[in-house]
Symmetry: none
Subunit: 258 residues, 2 copies
């Protein structure tokens, strides 16, 4: 927007949580390390103990930290999860300078690229509006439809819903806009801390148009995965649906055992 960001006054609990998170991310607080106690934190920041407690709760909810009754709060030894985006993925982004898809293609000696099928401004389906927590006054989203290729083979189709305001802000309304790190690279450059939640996974037989775009041989099922990206405050700002060949999912997920 044109408006100046008013250097938004941060809530005390967020501030404490952010400081701690930073300390963890820089390694100042190593995995396994004990955080300052709630009472200690409250003292340092001049807040009530409840507020420090709330900060820790935020981190614990995110899985960064784990509280043990009577002992203390500890940095988790292991990145807890498959948080595309926050942990694993953005690491990969930063280290390789490529999106996971492009990285995987590169590893396999292939060339990854994408094509923009369509870009539209629409009033979103109720489901999407709800997931993005759109208020009535901002019921307009950008829908971008991309198909990703490894060499000449289409691998997955991605549908991205982004609130219109954010889409304009980031230039994603322009089909030319791409980024070596993917759309999320753009978000990251804007200072978004993104976490991606996988909201649903299902498998089904493809619809006609999906089969066409993905050039699917008959009988091959597709995986249908929905992700939501949230910022550090838990606000969703993007909803993504992947539809991909189930027999090529190794590109996006670990390969199954056996």
């Amino acid at each position: 927007m044109g408006t100046q960001q008013p250097a938004e006054r941060q809530l005390p609990s967020r501030r404490i949580a952010d400081d701690l998170r930073r300390a963890i991310e820089t390694g100042e607080l190593a995995p396994g390390a004990r955080l300052p106690s709630e009472r200690d934190l409250a003292g340092r920041y001049g807040t009530a103990r409840n507020t420090a407690r709330e900060a820790i709760r935020l981190l614990a909810d995110g899985g960064l930290v784990i509280a043990e009754h009577g002992r203390g709060v500890f940095v988790r030894r292991e990145s807890p999860l498959i948080r595309l985006g926050n942990d694993r993925y953005s690491h990969k982004y930063r280290e390789s300078g490529l999106s996971p898809f492009l990285l995987e293609c590169a590893k396999q000696g292939k060339t990854g690229r994408f094509e923009v099928l369509s870009i539209e401004q629409i009033e979103p389906p109720a489901e999407v509006a709800r997931h993005l927590r759109l208020s009535m006054s901002e019921r307009s989203v950008l829908v971008r439809e991309n198909v990703f290729f490894a060499d000449a083979d289409p691998v997955h189709r991605v549908t991205t819903y982004i609130p219109w305001e954010i889409a304009e802000d980031t230039g994603l309304v322009n089909p030319e806009v791409g980024h070596p790190y993917g759309i999320h690279g753009i978000f990251e450059e804007r200072g978004h801390v993104m976490t991606r939640l996988r909201e649903s996974v299902s498998a089904r037989m493809p619809k006609a148009d999906e089969a066409r775009y993905l050039q699917l041989p008959p009988g091959v099922p597709v995986l249908d995965v929905m992700h939501i990206s949230i910022d550090q405050h838990g606000e969703p700002y993007e909803l993504t649906r992947f539809v991909m060949r189930a027999d090529l999912t190794g590109l996006l997920y670990d390969t199954p055992i056996e």
Copy 2:
């Protein structure tokens, strides 16, 4: 177990949350309905507003309910997500009081149950041993094979690998052993803090025996999901593979949008 339940004194916040949850599950509070306000609840239960607030937070964390600033708290219209993998699973158990599967069945007015197909002590496949970080001296795992039913319909087959020591410890070697919260309820009672990592997801056509156990119509693909459960120190103690009808995944995952 034979032990008497000591009529455990319930925390006020849990009590409120449980009452609300029951109201939601019985349909007394229909999807979309507004819950009593925080102040109202606090009044009714004779607690501080913060306590009522905490109760609502428990439900919201479980995805059963969603709070809207200035408007109220509403029962979610869609089945809440069971975010296998992204969160601490144990929260969901506690908040729902049932395993996700049983909960989902209950919501759909069905009866969830499981059958033990087999229990064996084996030397695990290399893949499993590696994931469970088994040393050479402890190369013995319990394999439990269960089929879960919603009413009479088989929905998924679960194969659980647990290091033999742990299995003996928890009584899981006994086919009679079950738990309303699932196997993980048993772990939790033993003080394990468990987190479940989703390691791989793929879809494929079923093998012959899978098709038989799951009574699959021809042409229906299965989802094959592997999870690993780790404790607070990141030590794995269980590996699980779900094989489920892809067209019924709504039972385990949120149904896809659209």
